[in-house]
């Protein structure tokens, strides 16, 4: 099997840049490659049934409610729309079309992880989401736009996980690298 190539390949330069504080960057960016992502959609009257399938498939107690993420034993699940979940797994559960549908979208997004003490502040340089602790705690997800591009943001235990439509990823990445240097940037 040939290797997957990230949208940022060829442009990805690791290192530390900009205004560092004692050699520490306020923003750390990472291209998380090899994304496995499936969309699971249901119909209004199959929400509960498909939700249970999703939870079982991910290894969590319940499927997440809108705007939330469940980290299961087997996979994490993001509720991206009222009738849609994203499961971060290589396979989607088998679902009868009468119940819902599944779709492999593993290559459709570039996943960028943003950490560091200024991560939220940095993100708010680009997107209008209230990222204050009480509004967007760990386990939250939201859809918003960066420079007119629709993106999905998940706050995981590791940091902020941003899912960018692949074709726009490099363009937004260039903007990220430029604007993050004011906080001190590390690309890992």
């Amino acid at each position: 099997m040939v290797d997957r190539i990230s949208a940022l390949a060829g442009y990805y330069r690791t290192g530390k840049f900009g205004i560092l504080d004692n050699d520490t960057a306020g923003v750390i960016l990472e291209d998380i490659r090899g994304l496995d992502l499936h969309q699971i959609a249901c119909w209004p009257d199959t929400l509960d049934a498909v939700g249970k399938l999703v939870a079982k498939s991910a290894g969590c107690k319940d499927a997440p409610t809108p705007g939330k993420v469940e980290v299961g034993k087997k996979a994490s699940v993001i509720r991206v729309e009222p009738l849609k979940w994203w499961i971060l797994a290589a396979e989607a559960p088998e679902i009868d079309p009468e119940q819902g549908s599944t779709l492999d979208i593993s290559h459709s997004r570039t996943r960028v992880r943003i950490t560091g003490s200024n991560a939220a502040e940095f993100l708010n340089r680009h997107m209008p989401l209230d990222l204050r602790e009480e509004s967007f705690p760990v386990g939250s997800a939201g859809s918003t736009a960066i420079h007119h591009v629709g993106v999905t943001l998940w706050r995981s235990e590791q940091g902020y996980e941003l899912f960018i439509p692949r074709g726009f990823a490099l363009s937004l990445w260039e903007g990220f690298v430029e604007s993050a240097t004011q906080f001190g940037l590390e690309v890992v």
């Binding site: 849609k84 209008p128 990222l131």
Partner: protein, 997 residues
Amino acid sequence: MSAKRLLHGGRIDREQPLRFSWDGGNMTGYAGDSLASALMANGETVLGRSFKYHRPRGIMSAGVEESGAMVTVGEGNRRDPNVKAATQELYNGLVATGQNAWPNVRFDVGAVNSLFGRFFSAGFYYKTFMGLPPFEWGKGTGLWMQYEKIIRKAAGMGVASREDDPDVYDHAHGYCDLLVVGSGPTGLSAALTAAKAGLDVLLVEQNSELGGDLLNQPVNQSEKQRLNFVSKLEKAGVRIMTRTTAFGLYDNGVAGLLERVTDHLLSPDRHLPRHRFWTIRPRQTILACGALERTVAFGNNDRPGVMTAAAGRAYLNRYGVLPGQKIVVATNNDSAYVVAAELAEAGAEVSLLEARSEISESAMALVGNNGVNLHTRSAPLHVRGSGSVNALDVAVESNSGWSAHGAEPCDLVLVSGGWSPVVHLMSHRGIRPEWNAEQACFVAPANIEEPMYIAGSAAAVWNTDDCMKSGESAALKVLKALGSKARQKKAPVAGGWDTPIKPLYEVKVPGRYLKSFVDPQHDVTCDDVRLAHREGFVSVEHLKRYTTLGMATDGGKVGNIIGLALMADAQGKDIPEVGTTTFRPPYTPVSIGALKGRNVDEHFRPLRRTPMHTWNLEHGATMTMAGLWHRPWYFARQGEGISEAYVRETETTRRTVGLCDVTSLGKIAIQGPDATEFLNRIYTNPFAKLPIGKARYGIMLRDDGIVMDDGTTWRLSEADYFMTTTTAHAGKVMVWLEELLQTRWQDLRVHVTSVSEQWAGSAVAGPKSREVLEACVEDAAVMPNDVFPFMGVIETTLKGGIPCRIARISFSGEMAFEVYVPSDYASALMELLWAVAEPLDGCLYGLEALGAMRIEKGHVTGAELDGRVTIDDAGLGKMASPNKSFIGSAMRNRPELMREDRPRLVGIKPKNTSQTFNAGAILCAQDKVSGLGEGWITAVTHSPALGHWIGLGFISSGHEAWEGKTVIAADPVRKGNIEVEIISPHMYDPSGEKMYG
């Protein structure tokens, strides 16, 4: 004005001298100085020239309302004109110059205008130069267009740099429970109260330090209190933003902020933006913006050496500059007494002209001990002096108004005509302020139905202690509004002066002509306002536009109230009867750079790159923009330009095989048990019986019967389809399908998902296309013609284990396939295909060759489907099923859309085949080359297959109607007229043998 720096006092750091230059001369100031205070301390008086009359102007204030000391800061590509010296922080190496003057502001040739000032009244230029008699009587503005250039040069402000802006600018979003605008006593108190109660508070201050008016008070009097506040605020977790102006309020409480990040630095870190444009979404807002001191209109009230009383206090207490030696303070309210007292205390000789007849004992006590000469019933009448103040003619109250009463020698005149609460941000929300006659100012109405409270002197509360109470009370109201049970405290009412203010807007005496300014920045005088009234511009809105009162960079902060008062006087009405003015954002100017942020140059729009982008570049692609996409335009070989390259690519593809990145086509997954029914409703042709493993070309219409888009849809399984759209309409179609499902057909169990990013695609076109794919798939048995016929679809695996979808469809007219792989495998796909195609003498082709081949074939794209074309116009009427309903099926039958003589898709060729013609040309009958003609040309190309230029376009009644006739392609602005013939749009392989073969 003979200002001098004091040895002690002020908030400046005398240990930190700063060198700067003014009009080429080197000067020194101190850390903590503003440019204005440093210039004042260096003895500079004339700092600017006025807009129209080129009158000398000096410092008039100590804040954002500054209208005199407008200067240019910086050099070269960082030259910033119209900077208010009073708000520019001094830094080491600052370079400032005067503007709107030649050779300099101290001696300006343009000042000759002032001699004719009487003629340069409101509307002078228009009245005099438009329709200039006798040359242009009744004819308009031809000559004006010439005069205007000269007049514009003579009048105006500073000049912006013509070079590219080297700075970067940032955008930012913020959220808070409470936004407090202004950090004077009111704002500090409000922020602290709210933060202590647990709210997330954002405190915004336009100045470099917190404190507001506390900064203008003697350091030994207020600094301890100020620092105490700041420390408590920090402890309570208040987020503080200094050098940040809340310039506008918008819907749902959204506030626009401008943060000046590096304007106070000579060489800022290149990673820092110059300005940051904040969009703040607070739950509640407290406006603690304070009040601005008004001046009074009197003769020569714009001379350098005339400023507001509060400014005199600021320069003394904040900057340690005694602004004059012999000072006249003129007032109509209590606020100027402390100014007079402190200036006298600092060593100035001070006279106080009091317009009122009586004052309180406490006010009297304030000035009595300092040797201030108090004159009641007195007011300033006329300033003597040109570049500075020599003396002030005084007026005293008489039965009929004012009468002249001697002169007072002085070098500085400080004026307090009352205070105007800063209600601008409230006004931005469309809330009209109300006139408070007792305080002689506009204030907020009692009830505001917005998440907003107004406190302190912004609510006409004048005393520091009351302001703090007012701030606290507003914060408690906010807490209540947010659901807290905080005990409420009554807010202090407006006022706070011992003796009521005496409204005073203009001082004049009968029979004496005075040049009295209402809006100094735009050179609007009292006479201009009266002239406007005489000429019928009695509405305040007309007055503003006729005289340009309040339309300068201060936005009417200085002159609006006086202008209103004069208009009221002229009409014999009270101020509220005349009206009010509406303040609009921004409160202070916002740089264009901040508005655009980082969306510049190649990031003006987000760039969309295909997953083959790098591969294409490595293989010699020249790129072009297609919407947001970067697509290969052509792949030039040594010595080729675009013309040679695309002709070769077209010829090669038709002869052997060509590869083309078609990733930008829109791709939509249509899934669900009702997907078939859904497709059958949106496409004009039948989709109910499309077998699994087959693709079908489809056209969708808008509701009004006009073509929206076209493309192929592939059936992958019973309930799973893969739709392709044009590149141009991908987003539009996706939104349209969602809209239909969410609003009209909620009963259909269908999900649509854009998979444009999931799949990367390449067209493999040409007689050898199958040969290429046979070598690339793991199982060549899927490729033969009988297994994989025209419009067939397979899902298989390419060598290297790459999963793929292939459809046998053709845009080029050759036997062709579209191959799609998951995007991360795009480069691998191209490597694989090219490794086979190159030895077969194949080529890579770009958008230009793609266009040439589709024109030869007569295939339509967005150039033809431009929102005016019906399915019949496009020659595809047979694809509209008469046996079913579909979107647009009713409206397409409107008589207008069914007319036989509508323009129809046709092919076009030049009569003399050595000639070329242009897209965009108008098709006209040979004997009638005029008007809108009979049609138009949408696309042209050189056709390698036919050996001459061809085009597509539309002409009335279609090609049959024009057979054998000569038509003119009229292109008057480019090529002139070319004789063309109208032919069938299917100019290459009309029977489709190559495609099916």
